[in-house]
């Protein structure tokens, strides 16, 4: 499973950078590599023929312009709002439903067909429906995001609940742990590793669907800004907006990786030194 390999790879990376001096050197090498790539790219644009593809300097200028005249704020805010709200609603639906389907095998069997059916509908097929219901506003984007993001969260929660250690469960039963405490202090933490993976995947997907919806519907946000720039012939601005979307994606992934690492300090994949 990709999630498991992801966490393991991260553990290895952290161990490699364990020495403080070594970490600094790793960063220096990384920065140097990026600078080298940028230089090659700049040279390729200046001396080669890459069509409308901008040089890094042009891209930077276009980006500074976006930031400078404050144009960047609105679309970024629009995209982030739908991203965050969509993710929140997906979790609010996916986690509780996942808990129930994880605990009750019969409930899972009952819903399995419906689940598999809904999950395979590409959300972009729902664009006309979303527009019919909510026009080009936030509602449309939310519908599409939630319809896509609820599945990874829900399924990961189901897997997590199923993975509760039977000895831990039996211990809780023998100590007469009451149901609310069971859910909060046994089931939820047991599922936390899976859940974090589900939310991290959903966070990326949520951004993807936000942008796609903004381009296709179109609806206010970075996606629409990309289309407008292209239609208006502002090609460097178009690239700048694409870069903004990319940076947002990287930041979101970084944020979730950090939060996951802090929240799951106790988890075998995150333990630093000691432990078994």
């Amino acid at each position: 499973m990709t999630a498991a390999t992801g966490t393991r790879a991260r553990g290895v990376a952290r161990r490699a950078g364990g020495v403080p001096g070594g970490a600094r050197r790793v960063w220096a090498v990384k920065a140097g590599f990026v600078a080298l790539l940028a230089a090659v790219w700049e040279a390729a644009v200046r001396f080669g023929d890459l069509g409308t593809f901008p040089a890094p300097t042009e891209l930077c200028r276009a980006l500074t312009d976006l930031v400078g005249d404050g144009e960047i704020g609105g679309p970024v805010l629009d995209t982030l709002t739908s991203w965050a709200l969509g993710l929140l609603v997906s979790a609010a639906i996916g986690v509780p439903v996942g808990l129930v389907l994880g605990v009750s095998a019969s409930a899972y069997r009952l819903c399995r067909f419906l689940l598999d059916f809904l999950r395979t509908i590409p959300s972009l097929a729902l664009v006309p429906l979303a527009v019919l219901l909510y026009g080009s506003g936030l509602g449309s984007k939310m519908l599409l995001i939630v319809f896509t993001c609820v599945w990874p969260i829900l399924l990961q929660t189901v897997y997590g609940v199923r993975d509760i250690d039977p000895v831990a469960a039996e211990t809780c039963r023998s100590y007469r742990i009451r149901p609310s405490h069971r859910a909060l202090f046994l089931i939820l933490p047991s599922a936390a590793g899976y859940l974090a993976t589900g939310v991290r995947i959903a966070a990326g997907v949520s951004l993807l669907i936000s942008l796609s919806a903004e381009i296709i519907i179109p609806s206010p946000g970075i996606g629409q800004a990309i289309t407008s720039a292209q239609l208006g012939g502002a090609i460097p601005a178009m690239y700048a907006w694409i870069a903004v979307a990319g940076v947002l994606g990287v930041l979101i992934n970084l944020l979730f990786t950090r939060v996951e690492r802090r929240a799951l300090r106790w988890h075998p994949s995150q333990r630093q030194g000691g432990g078994r």
Partner: protein
């Protein structure tokens, strides 16, 4: 051949009678327990010894209300056990899985109390006392996985003590620690029994351990399991890993238990 007679049963803290349990259905049905019977008096240190696969864990799960037996019943302080009773605390063999890794040591120890609605100051005190009793007062803030195996099992014992049970039931608690740690933990539970007066019921496959710890040893036969004999151990209250185990009386008790287990196995094979 059990030592239980009805007056004893009535005054016993724990009494198990006619317990039977099978796993599986139809052709794959396999009887594990057949008519298991024994009693424990308050303050007793009872050990149950039987070979691996004899159904010791099954027996504990049935008598602690975790698993419904096919027949028979367990009574604790006279009341039939249908679900895990509040007067009984369990210590599992697999400490690393029984302790919750997302809770600190003190969090694990207080968790059952918190769930029972014990107020925070009292939880604190009880956890501190229990951790001090097992010699872990300085590790309260650590996480279980930061401790050695022996220390983790001490945490599990502290959790059981803090729960305030009348009987502490342990399923091969020292089977997965090294020999030195095992001896230390054996002496720890003997000491706890002496100081706190808790009743212990400890299951083991190790005959030495069964005799060393017990006031009485309940000897199980192989599956389907019955109680072959209850052997009283008159070695006094004070035990010592070296001295007690060298005593002729200890050696002869050990041989007696060993012979009982072997005879039961041969008996079963003959059938």
């Amino acid at each position: 051949m059990t030592s239980s007679t009805s007056p004893v049963v009535e005054s016993a803290l724990l009494s198990v009678s006619g317990l039977a349990k099978s796993y599986g259905d139809g052709a794959s049905r396999r009887q594990v327990l057949a008519d298991v019977e024994f009693t424990a008096q308050a303050g007793d240190f009872l050990t149950i010894v039987g070979p691996s696969g004899a159904g010791k864990t099954t027996l504990l799960r049935c008598m602690s209300g975790l698993l419904a037996p096919d027949a028979g019943e367990t009574r604790l302080s006279g009341a039939p056990v249908a679900e895990p009773p509040a007067d009984m605390a369990l210590v599992f063999q697999d400490y690393s899985r029984s302790l919750l890794p997302w809770m600190s040591v003190v969090g694990n120890v207080t968790f059952p109390l918190r769930s029972r609605g014990v107020a925070k100051p009292e939880r604190r005190t009880r956890a501190e006392e229990a951790l001090a009793a097992v010699g872990l007062e300085s590790s309260a803030r650590l996480y279980p996985w930061q401790l050695s195996g022996g220390m983790q099992q001490r945490v599990a014992i502290a959790r059981a003590l803090a729960y305030g049970p009348r009987i502490l039931v342990m399923d091969e608690p020292f089977a997965s620690v090294d020999a030195q740690t095992r001896a230390e933990l054996e002496d720890l539970v003997l000491d706890l029994r002496d100081r706190l007066g808790v009743t212990f019921l400890l299951v083991t496959h190790d005959i030495d351990e069964a005799v060393y710890l017990a006031d009485r040893v309940v000897v199980l036969s192989g599956a389907p399991t019955t109680v072959t004999a209850v052997v009283p151990v008159d070695l006094g209250r004070k035990r010592d890993q070296v001295e007690t185990k060298a005593r002729p009386q200890f050696v002869s008790l050990r041989s007696q238990v060993y012979r009982l287990i072997r005879a039961a196995a041969e008996d079963k094979e003959a059938k």
